[in-house]
Amino acid sequence: MRQIAISTTLLYALWLLLSGHYTGLLLTLGFISALGCSLIAARMGVLDEEGLPMAILMRLPKVTLWLIWEILKSNWGVVKVILNPQSAKPQMVSVKASQKTVAGLVTHANFITLTPGTVSVDVDEEKNVILVHGLTDDFAQGCLEPDMDQKVSGLEGK
């Protein structure tokens, strides 16, 4: 029930922002379609903690600035490697993840892929290990540092 309410609110807010029509009839119709979508999603069984991870979404803005800074730094690092391809020392590393939920683990893997120079190749749900391909030693070792892991675990709030 709570999930349906949250999802309807989000969808209706999105509709309000994008439609640009603010007459009584259209506002009502918009709400009905938002509610209908949420009900269908609930019937499909995708409106759970995994499909709508509110805990993570709410805390996301806190790490955004840090993530943007990391991305800009490693963008510069990858550009340097591209200008001198011989300096690439690709390697695979296994990163231990401390996240307790699947949504948290996916967020961690996505953050790793989002940072240029590192791509998460495989995620092991049972062992909580992410296999990461790093472009150079620096990128791969940077991934092993607990910095990002702790930040993402903080997002879960559990």
């Binding site: 994008l18 391809p85 690439a88 020392k89 690709p90 996505n110 120079g117 590192t118 998460s120 472009l135």
Partner: protein, 115 residues
Amino acid sequence: MSVSVLIDIIGMVSLFVGSLAVIFGALGLLRLGDVYQRMHGTGIVDTGGAGLILFGLLMLSPDWTVTVRLILIGFILVMTGPTATHAIARAVRVSGEEPDNVKTKRKKAVKRGRK
């Protein structure tokens, strides 16, 4: 110098830097070694390129409806980009392709074995 001119300049500069990032990403796609390495090149296009271009457009956007749409585009790109990259990486790994450094190590080991 008024604030709006300053914002325009910031927008144009980030559009320019973002375009440079896209060019570098494409260059990386062409120059780097194996499939895994080339994916890092596209990583720049996904983040630095798209991000800076969107930021530049945000600075230059004429009214709030455009701003909302740009922010939404950024959010969707951030959510889908890594997923697509991960799908490619995983497909490459499942199909049995190994990174270059593993291959060279194996070749060396085979050579040593022959001696």
